[in-house]
């Protein structure tokens, strides 16, 4: 079948245009990333064509830059806390949407998913008002609460998609054989949802590491990495930012490839995040 469709087009002029278009789109998507990486090794600084004077200077400066590493530490801390919060409330939320009836369920579902599609500024500002009204001092803690709350949506959608594929007979059997709900939850439900949960955890971690719009309003004295970068960008551009971005890019690429390998072995398909997109746009 695939062959048939392809034969229709192969050699036709339309298909060559299509291919050219796709190559152009890929070039567009990768151009800034290529520039970013190349100029992290550029002795003459950012910009200027052609790049010249290959150097590792910016990486050396970066290694000695205590403020950057402190912000990386803060970001890791925030991402971890956000992951814990989002999973702790996102998994039960998915279970509730799957198997409980309660008044306001439709509203609850929309509310949980809203931060995913809403511009970050609205989530950030509304939480700022809450913390202000409660007279909480802004700090890394408020950012953790903000990220955690906004990213419950990710945990819920991923786990909910996993629940749809889950065979309920196993849980029923467990209950029939005398296990308590609590035992069934930990021994049957959670192990069966392992992959969606790991997938959600990775997504939440990465999204939190990169989040800036919500953090922008909830920041106290300690910076997260994106806010540290933001502060420096306002003062002027330095290739050090290219260097740290290159390192993070390589690091996340390795993580993602490892995750896909794992998932491919288990399920033979790679569509992490696909549920996310579909569930937000097709409520």
């Amino acid at each position: 079948m695939e062959l048939l469709v392809r034969n229709d087009f192969s050699g036709a002029r339309g298909s060559r245009w299509l291919l050219a278009h796709c190559l152009a789109v890929f070039a567009f998507l990768y151009l800034p990333i290529a520039v970013l990486i190349i100029y992290s090794f550029n002795g003459a600084g950012v910009g200027g064509f052609p790049p010249r004077d290959f150097t590792l200077k910016w990486y050396r400066i970066l290694i000695d830059d205590a403020a950057i590493w402190e912000s990386v530490g803060n970001s890791l801390l925030v991402a971890f806390a956000a992951m814990v919060i989002a999973l702790a409330f996102g998994i039960p939320a998915a279970l509730a949407l799957d198997r409980a009836q309660f008044p306001g369920k439709a509203l609850f579902r929309r509310l949980v998913l809203l931060p995913l599609i809403l511009p970050g500024i609205i989530t950030g500002l509304s939480l700022l008002m809450l913390f202000n009204a409660a007279q909480w001092k802004l700090s890394l803690l408020t950012i953790m609460l903000g990220h955690g709350t906004a990213l419950i949506s990710v945990a819920t959608t991923e786990v909910f998609a996993g629940l749809q594929k889950l065979d309920r007979a196993q849980e029923e059997a467990s209950l029939d054989l005398g296990a308590t709900y609590w035992q069934t939850f930990w021994r049957i439900t959670i192990p069966n949802l392992k992959l969606p949960i790991i997938g959600a955890a990775l997504l939440i971690f990465t999204l939190s590491m990169d989040e800036i719009a919500v953090s922008f309003f909830l920041i106290g004295r300690d910076n997260t990495l994106p806010l540290e970068i933001w502060g420096r960008l306002r003062r002027g551009i330095t290739p050090e930012i290219n260097a740290i971005s290159t390192i993070i890019f390589v690091f996340s690429l390795v993580t993602i490839v490892a995750w896909y390998r794992l998932r491919m072995r288990r399920e033979g398909s790679v569509d992490v995040g696909a549920e996310l997109i579909e569930s937000t746009t097709k409520p």
């Binding site: 695939e2 048939l4 392809r6 229709d8 087009f9 036709a12 339309g14 298909s15 291919l19 796709c22 789109v25 890929f26 567009f28 998507l29 800034p32 990333i33 520039v35 910009g47 200027g48 064509f49 409330f89 039960p92 939320a93 509730a96 409980a100 609850f108 949980v112 931060p115 599609i117 809403l118 511009p119 500024i121 609205i122 500002l125 509304s126 939480l127 700022l128 008002m129 809450l130 009204a133 609460l145 709350t149 419950i152 849980e171 029923e172 209950l175 709900y181 990169d210 800036i212 922008f216 994106p226 960008l233 930012i241 993602i256 896909y260 790679v270 997109i277 746009t281 097709k282 409520p283």
Partner: protein, 282 residues
């Protein structure tokens, strides 16, 4: 099969958390939008429509809102124009390399949003990569200074950022099209072009609507790309909100604008949901 206490245990914690950290903040924002600020910068908790009437009467607010919508609309159109053919190619012509190409579309999403916006700044700047390249190959004598600090730079950067987001739902919609429909159309003598416009495209419309909504809504609320690349003519509505919550210190007015944005976004989501339902074939 699940007992009441089990259902309560899975329902109550998220319900309470979401009420406190999502619902309550929106309610607060709603209240704020009807309050005012005194001349000594105290929030006055008296209920008034003053903020909303200021939004309607002061030109700068609704003009900036219109400009933001125009920027977002262009981002949406360009992302669709870039994303749709890509999704179509992957779904129907990529064969075995489909998964690889799919990953290639997703990978840019793992580079920080901020960093990609910054990379565009280094490309478009007066001493940037593009300008020095053009001079290097002697296409221009002087740097083109209209590239950076314009609405165009914002549109370009946001298009770059939201094209993968637009691609994903379109690709999902195309993947869900039963291949035997395409086959049938072919067998009944339709040309590839006819098959595309009469079978494939109509069935992919829900994906197009979802992807377009993503690009429009998310770029409408952006304030970082305009700050980095927009210059004075590229200011968007969220930038005004940011300044109202910062230096200008008028939280109530900022809340009113945010609430208008929230209303606009929810209306759009509702509309796109309706349209998707109308166009889905199952």
């Amino acid at each position: 099969m699940f007992s009441r206490s089990y259902r309560a245990a899975i329902t109550l914690p998220p319900l309470i958390w979401v009420s406190v950290f999502l619902l309550l903040p929106y309610v607060l924002m709603f209240c704020y939008s009807f309050w005012t600020v005194s001349s000594s910068q105290q929030i006055l908790h008296t209920w008034t429509f003053a903020n909303y009437s200021e939004l309607v009467t002061r030109q700068v607010y609704w003009q900036t809102l219109l400009r933001s919508m125009w920027i977002a609309a262009r981002v949406m159109i360009f992302s669709l124009l870039l994303g749709y053919p890509l999704a179509y190619f992957l779904s129907f012509h990529a064969g075995r390399k489909k998964d690889l190409y799919y990953q290639l579309v997703i990978i840019p999403l793992w580079v920080s949003y901020l960093v990609r916006a910054y990379a565009w700044k280094t490309i478009l700047g007066t001493d940037g990569v593009l300008n020095t390249l053009l001079q290097y190959v002697h296409l221009t004598q002087h740097p083109l200074d209209f590239l950076l600090y314009s609405p165009l730079a914002v549109v370009l950067t946001l298009t770059h950022i939201y094209t993968p987001f637009t691609f994903l739902p379109i690709y999902a919609a195309l993947e869900h099209i039963p291949r035997n429909l395409v086959e049938a159309s072919h067998d009944l003598g339709a040309s590839p072009t006819q098959t595309f416009w009469r079978v494939i495209f109509p069935l992919s419309i829900p994906g197009v609507i979802a992807g377009g909504t993503f690009a429009f809504v998310l770029s409408l609320g952006d304030f970082l790309a305009p700050l980095l690349l927009g210059g004075p003519s590229g200011i968007m509505i969220s930038n005004i909100v940011v300044s109202l919550f910062g230096a200008a210190y008028n939280w109530p007015l900022g809340a009113a604008i945010s609430l208008c944005m929230l209303g606009l976004v929810t209306a759009l989501l509702f509309l796109s949901e309706r349209l998707e339902k109308k166009w889905s074939f199952s």
